[in-house]
Symmetry: C2
Subunit: 263 residues, 2 copies
DNA sequence: GCTTGAAGTTGACGCGACGTCAACCTCTAC
DNA sequence: GTAGAGGTTGACGTCGCGTCAACTTCAAGC
């Protein structure tokens, strides 16, 4: 009645490779008994039972670290499994959103094959009329602001205009990602995007606050409302709900970045 | 009108880190222009456009290698995206199955908390009555086969019996995984499990074919049918449909492993 | 001229769970 | 003696960068 098995016997028995067993030994997940320091590994019945539990949890998708925790801290496999389940569900939602995005992109490519350049990397130098926003900007920030802004725009030149638009695009993607991920507008991730947004705005000459190196608080809040209210702006942030997320995040950012008494 | 930007400008513009840009340069995905070999990297408008396409595809979940292929081989972004979509869907199904498994395991743990040992690592030395299969084995393979088998079983001893059961468990998991993955019973993966199954069977003294080092062809096929017909056996392979998968895979294996004329 | 700072450069390690050599030892069988 | 089976210990590769570390270069302020 043998009291132990060789590494190959365990491997054949359980269907894992001997390399895997050596790895589990190396990381301490399944220590093997050794006669001499550098002699063959031997496994006893207790090891075999432990390996079975390891494999069960591994099949359920847990990482080796989590498996070690669950097995060693005794009594909370269920807790570990529930936590794991949450992360699996989150991953599934992420996948679902990604699949939807890929489908939309494919559909757009198929609908208008010639639009590839537009979709894949809109040059945006054509088809974008900066002046279409004249009324909004003028009404909200005064004729002077628009005049400065338009002069700024024409003064940028081709490269500068593209630079501005690329920044807007990148921010749009970042906002959409954050909103679709279901983040809290007050979360660190969302606030980091808000900070990028503010920095980007203040880099534009002619915008209120440009001289101060950071956007005017009222301007920031007003922009947020405008994104939500106007579909043309909202489209840049994934529609009205995306724009709402942007507005909320900007509000939180404004409250934090401009303490009491500041304009 | 500047014709190029520094690495930091591109980073701020697009929201990626400079480390990422260096990486893309290093792997050739987005080569930068350099004045001297070890001087600063410079990016022009073409690079900026390429980077936008890279980021779009990256957001859709493609790997850098796939992105490089899609961008360089021109004209088949849609093809690359469709292939990617397939893998995303496969991953989603895998996740769904895994979630279901975790849920079942949690439910089992909650329903009977004391069954933890049974579920997590059934010792199986208790509660498993080898003799309950006497009738089936006897009827199908003759009283002599059962007598030899039973003598073998009792002769195994505690360790040997556990060894046998652990092998059966591991095979069960492998079969269930293969069946749930939607594999073809004739696929390489399924046939590899079938080969393990055959090897495991032939290792048992008293089974038809043990002396030949490989199971009797008829025995193998008969077992497959028995797994499907008898729920108690089928339970080891995830129910009737799992057992059906096992039977089909074993049939294919038998046809291939025992060419014409062989028994 | 000297210091400091900002921005750039090239390595190199780390992550996760092993697969996959490579080089070597040891025991048994012929 | 030699071949083969089965064991050992490294060490590299995977994927997409994050994160130091150590160094250079350039412009501004003292």
């Amino acid at each position: 009645m043998d009291m132990h098995w060789s590494i190959q016997e365990i491997a054949r028995l359980t269907g894992v490779t001997s390399r895997t067993l050596r790895h589990y030994d190396a990381v301490g997940l399944l220590p093997a008994v050794r006669v001499t320091a550098s002699g063959p590994r031997r496994y006893d019945r207790a090891a075999l039972v432990r390996l079975q539990r390891i494999l069960l949890l591994r099949d359920l998708g847990l990482g080796l670290g989590d498996i070690a925790e669950a097995l060693d801290s005794e009594q909370d496999e269920a807790k570990a499994l529930r936590r794991h389940l949450d992360s699996l569900r989150a991953e599934q939602h992420r996948l679902a959103r990604q699949i939807a995005s890929v489908e939309r992109t494919i559909a757009a490519l198929e609908k208008d094959p010639e639009a590839k350049e537009d979709i894949m990397a809109k040059d945006m130098l054509d088809g974008f009329d900066h002046t279409q926003y004249e009324q909004e900007v003028t009404e909200r920030w005064g004729r002077d602001a628009y005049a400065k802004s338009d002069a700024w725009w024409r003064g940028l030149g081709k490269d500068g205009q593209q630079q501005w638009k690329v920044g807007a695009e990148a921010l749009g993607r970042a906002w959409i990602d954050a909103a679709e991920a279901g983040l809290d507008p007050a979360s660190d991730e969302a606030q980091a995007v808000a900070a990028r947004h503010a920095e980007w705005l203040s880099s534009i000459p002619g915008t209120p606050g440009h001289e101060q190196g950071r956007p005017d608080k009222g301007y920031l809040l007003g922009l947020g409302d405008m994104y939500v209210a106007d579909d043309r702006f909202a489209a840049n942030y994934g529609g009205t709900e995306g724009a709402t997320f942007v507005r909320d995040a900007l509000r939180v950012y404004a409250e934090r970045a401009y303490p009491e008494g500041e304009a």
